[in-house]
């Protein structure tokens, strides 16, 4: 990856991240976040992590952000006039940011910082081919069990959210009568 492209994307992602915090309109914040994620996705691809880069673009910049957008529209959020919340919240927020900055400063001292814009890897490193070989051989069990786990979650969600039956309504009445009696 050319050094110029790296610096451009790095600057772009930081500027966009600032935009997420500083914009007042929630939809503008969200669009800035999409820009950050896309810039980072290209950075991943530049480091030969091709699958991770594409997943970042498809899953985060695509699916998750659309979900965010729906939630924002659903809640009909007002335009923020400035930072809100308790004084204590602001205080601890400031402290946390200061701590993170201090940590970054420790780790980003020039002696430790070794910028490499291209890395030498074996052919096929980070490709979808290599990933699927690992996923379907070494981690076969984990991969299959994950799909069972997702199935369980879906069944559970449907079981809890499905339509109420008459019998259940009756039970509800009895239960609240009991709670009132007890109280």
């Amino acid at each position: 990856m050319p050094a110029g492209l790296f610096w451009f994307l790095a600057a772009l992602s930081i500027l966009a991240a600032l935009g997420v915090v500083l914009q007042r309109n929630p939809v503008h914040c969200l669009l800035a976040l999409v820009l950050t994620l896309l810039a980072i996705a290209v950075l991943f691809i530049g480091q030969d992590a091709i699958v991770v880069g594409f997943l970042q673009a498809i899953v985060y910049a695509g699916a998750v952000m659309v979900l965010f957008l729906f939630v924002i529209w659903l809640l009909n959020l007002p335009v923020e006039s400035g930072p809100t919340g308790h004084l204590a919240l602001k205080l601890f927020g400031t402290l946390a940011v200061a701590a993170l900055l201090a940590e970054l400063a420790v780790f980003l001292v020039p002696s430790r910082l070794q910028l490499k814009f291209s890395s030498a890897h074996a052919a096929g490193y980070g490709s979808i081919d290599a990933l699927s070989q690992t996923l379907f051989s070494e981690y076969l069990i984990a991969f299959e069990v994950t799909s069972v786990l997702l199935l369980v979650a879906v069944i559970g969600a449907v079981a809890l959210a499905r339509r109420t039956t008459q019998a259940e309504l009756q039970e509800r009445k009895e239960a609240s009568a009991r709670v009132e009696k007890a109280a």
Partner: protein, 498 residues
Amino acid sequence: MNPFNLAAINFAWLPILPLITVGIGAIVVLLAGVRLDDEESEGLGWLSLAALAVAFVLTLGIVGQTGVAFAGALAVDSFSAFFELVILIAAAFTILMSLDYAGENHLAGAEYYSLVLFSALGMMLMASAGDLIVIFLGLETMSIAVYVLAGLRRRDPRSNEAAIKYFLLGAFSTGFLLYGIALIYGATGTIKFEAIRAALTQPMMSNPMLLLGLAMLLVGFAFKVAAVPFHMWTPDVYEGAPTPITGFMAVGVKLGAFAGFVRIFLVNFGPVSMHWSQALWVLAVLTMTAGNVIAVVQTNIKRMLAYSAIAHAGYILVGMTAAGPEAGSAVLYYLLAYAFTNLGAFAIVVALERRGSVGDLIADYRGLSSRSPALAGAMALFLLSLTGIPPLAGFMGKFYIFAAALHQGYTGLVVIAVLNSVVAAYYYISVIVAMYMEEGGIDTGRLARKPALVAAIGLAAIATVLIGIYPAPYMSAAANAFNSASGEQAMRAASLNP
């Protein structure tokens, strides 16, 4: 592109056949339920029992094996077989208890049985896990199914409360577990138990990242087995959940969680037990004492059994503190004895309960002996076994654990545990006093119409007596199971202890 080489990852049908059977059973039950009304769900229960029975037979094939499959992801040994068999029995008892209960309480029929099977699948995965990822995935499969099961009485606010509380705290505790897994991976560079065991050299054990990871794992497991001070959710969740599910949580979830807990701590981190046994010592004392003392003042039988379950987790932690093969076998035996006894006790709570949680109070048990002598007799048997009265299963379990702890020099811990057993006798026996010496209470209804429930109570009672008066085969099975998982432990322990 290379074709996938299944031989290279040590593909084997043996360990996954029981898992696949339970998983397919869960899906078939769900699909069959589409055509049925909830009131006709009993057939689905029998279908689930059939799936569990087939899985039970298939699991017997694993007994006596020693090794790993799927590139180390699954452990194929008697340890996993032992836990899987007990988990399958616990799930079968839960379904026997539910056959009438689910219909009476309008629980969503197909989803109910399907989720019980999926949860059992998660527990079995925890028991046979060969790496930390499978432990985590098994735990999540088990937990998510149980979160939903706890809230299935959707129109009862207490059931809603139970599900939300269990879900939020459970998710929180899973975070700890996952963080622990990440730190251990960071320190050792592997998630596979075999490789972790090989990496546990003396300089590695002074690595703070590894110790912190171990501590996080401890917190995660302590939440799941309801050890004090991570037990806050237990009474409310046990009270609000449908009663057969409460029994399933008190036995099945504990079996699954302890299977992972024992495999990680006693087996794989066993040679370095001096680094974690003090923490477990404190946990054991707190858990026993708080569980027993708070149980004394309970008036609701489900809450009382919840605190009793906490106290029993404390006794098991005594065995884990002691570490070593003797304590390991004792813990496995204890879990077996505890499973049958507790399932029996919960089956009786189910029998006495009317629709909408009438009959949950200890006061409702007054005079039970005159109305239903057999039921009262069985309840007395289970409560005496939980107290630890010879010759019942609970006594032998406590005996083996305390003996193992004494041999390892934990005299103080055993004294505290015995004192706790005395406190426990008070609240267990006060229920027996209510059943035999007091008047009042509620009618039990027509039990003869519930053959499945009667069968569950009968089988649990027989097992409680049998495991107690003739413990040798079960104890040797427990010892074989533990030793097959920790085969080379003795040698490694000698080279590691300073």
